[in-house]
């Protein structure tokens, strides 16, 4: 794009806030009562964190892959692209994330999710809890009503933030699996910023938290490795 620096963020916003939030509202109406099922799956993920089930990693990874696939197909592809043609370019990223979750988490069973002490564990747990339990309250609190509530497993932001939170609970920084959630949080934050929506703080804070927590975890693992090397 020529002279791209002369464009402001609002130049890339193709729709009005009213159109966007009505899209969420009509989507919620169209898929009801799927919200109950996806919230149950989210609560199931929370419950599984406390269980030492040998297929725990496979189940949670599978749930995340299914919910992301639903969000990508039902919302991004079928609905969001009707007001934002650029959303088409996000779909491959969601597909990549789904493939990675299925391959690493389901097929190879390399992901174990557990609540741990320390900054990374608290951050991951808080993000998951917020996305499943608190996120639906954001719209009503901001005066937009329950019909425009964004639900885990239905709307992209809570689903992606919940996914990122869970991935922080896998014991080490998995940058390959966290890249797409962070990218989506940044895209969403920029969109909400252009819309002058106060919700911008949620995906922005999520992106910062994920990068900080994963970076903290990387340093911690590196320090442990050095200690082991010194001991040898």
């Amino acid at each position: 794009m020529p002279e791209w620096w002369s464009y402001s963020l609002s130049d890339f916003l193709l729709f009005s806030p009213r159109t966007y939030y009505r899209l969420i509202e009509r989507y919620n109406e169209a898929v009801w009562p799927a919200q109950i099922a996806t919230l149950a799956l989210g609560l199931g993920c929370l419950a599984l964190l406390r269980r030492k089930v040998w297929v725990q990693g496979r189940i949670i990874s599978g749930i995340l892959a299914v919910l992301l696939a639903w969000v990508a197909g039902a919302f991004l592809w079928r609905r969001y692209t009707t007001i934002n043609w650029a959303a088409v370019y996000v779909l491959p990223l969601f597909a990549l994330q789904i493939v990675l979750l299925v391959w690493i988490g389901v097929v190879r069973n390399r992901l174990t999710f557990q609540v741990s002490r320390g900054f990374t564990g608290v951050a991951g747990s808080a993000m998951l809890g917020f996305s499943v339990i608190a996120y639906p309250l954001v719209a009503p609190v901001l005066g937009r009503g329950w019909l425009q509530a964004e639900i885990f497993g239905i709307a992209p932001d809570p689903t992606v933030i919940g996914t990122a939170g869970l991935l922080l609970l896998t014991g080490r920084a998995r940058w390959g699996l966290l890249a797409v959630p962070v990218a989506w949080c940044l895209v969403s934050a920029l969109t909400l910023w252009a819309m002058n929506s106060p919700e911008v703080v949620v995906p922005a804070a999520a992106a910062i938290t994920v990068v900080t927590a994963a970076g903290f975890n990387s340093q911690k693992v590196e320090r442990q490795r050095e200690l082991v090397d010194d001991y040898r």
Binding site: E3, S6, S10, F15, T19, R22, T82
Partner: protein, 309 residues
């Protein structure tokens, strides 16, 4: 008594005919008494109302039936008020199909002046995109096609000129916005027989006054002024301020009319294309295209007043 029955029947028939006519031609039934002022398109002399209708953001409502009907209501009020030119682009999301929905609901008014754009990097893909746009609108041909933001203009202009020569297009134009690539715009205006140029122009964005607007007059090119309200930001920033007392001399009752009168009173400007989602705003905007329009001294005063706020 028989005579009385006939009279009542005649009266009821006349009433029914009136109701039917109003239902069949709603925009004519609602037509305002004062049509907006017009200016000629320099290349043909065809008269065009000084106010058109933009669709950026406002008409991108997807498949939301309620919002589509609101857009159709806006179009209905626009045509009822004497408006003609509606401007869109493939870049504007679902705006084109939403225009098509509105035109279909209104029966495609004969007054429509359809203005769209080609916006694609590949020159060879231009004709396909234009055909898709035409199908969205549901019109037999466009009145005006413009190269959007000069994207691949070298490839698209020959296509548009060929369409015009073949009678499949009436006018050819180029667009830019917010002051981008004005040097290139000038070169194209000087070297190619375009009919229209679309640029950003309002009391705070007046760079085009220096070279592009004078060149348009010299070359006989019509000018469409986009972003008259800076996507509403200009109106919002002025909302807390009071109109000057002398605005009454211009018959302006709002900042929107104040700004529009400034824009369309420039001798080189053919029309401005404010976008809106509200019928009341369409009527308010169209009412600005009426006498009295400001003279050069008053135009300077208008700029000074807004810049001083």
């Amino acid at each position: 008594m028989h005579r009385g029955k006939l009279d009542r029947r005649t009266l009821l028939g006349a009433l029914a005919a009136g109701v039917a006519a109003a239902a069949l031609r709603p925009f004519e039934a609602l037509a305002d008494t004062a049509a907006p002022l017009t200016k000629p398109i320099p290349s043909t002399g065809e008269q065009l109302p000084l106010l058109g209708l933009g669709t950026w953001i406002t008409f991108n409502v997807g498949d939301d039936a309620e919002l589509r009907d609101e857009c159709a209501d806006v179009m209905q009020a626009f045509f009822a008020g004497g408006g003609r030119l509606i401007d869109s682009s493939p870049m504007y999301g679902s705006s084109q199909p939403v225009i098509g929905y509105g035109l279909n609901r209104l029966g495609t008014p004969a007054a429509l002046f359809s203005a769209d754009k080609v916006w694609i990097s590949s020159g060879s893909s231009g004709p396909r995109q234009i055909e898709e746009s035409r199908a969205h609108w549901g019109v037999p041909r466009f009145d005006l096609l413009q190269v959007h933001n000069l994207l691949s203009w070298e490839a698209h202009l020959p296509t548009l000129f060929a369409m015009k020569a073949a009678g499949r297009l009436r006018y050819v134009g180029i667009t830019t916005s917010e002051g981008r690539r004005h040097d290139e715009v000038e070169k194209i205006m000087a070297a190619h027989p375009i009919d229209f140029v679309q640029v950003t122009y309002n009391p705070l964005d007046r760079e085009v006054e220096e070279r592009i607007l004078p060149l348009a007059r010299d070359r006989g090119i019509a000018v469409i002024a986009n972003r008259p309200f800076r996507e509403g930001a200009l109106i919002r920033s002025l909302a807390r301020e009071r109109l000057p007392a002398w605005a009454g001399e211009l018959a302006t009752g709002s900042w929107a009319q104040f700004i529009l009168k400034f824009i369309i009173s420039h001798p080189a400007v053919t029309c401005a294309i404010p976008a809106t989602t509200q019928v009341a705003h369409v009527r308010e905007n169209l009412a600005a295209a009426a006498e009295p329009l400001p003279d050069p001294a008053t135009r300077r005063r208008m700029v000074q007043y807004i810049e001083g706020l």
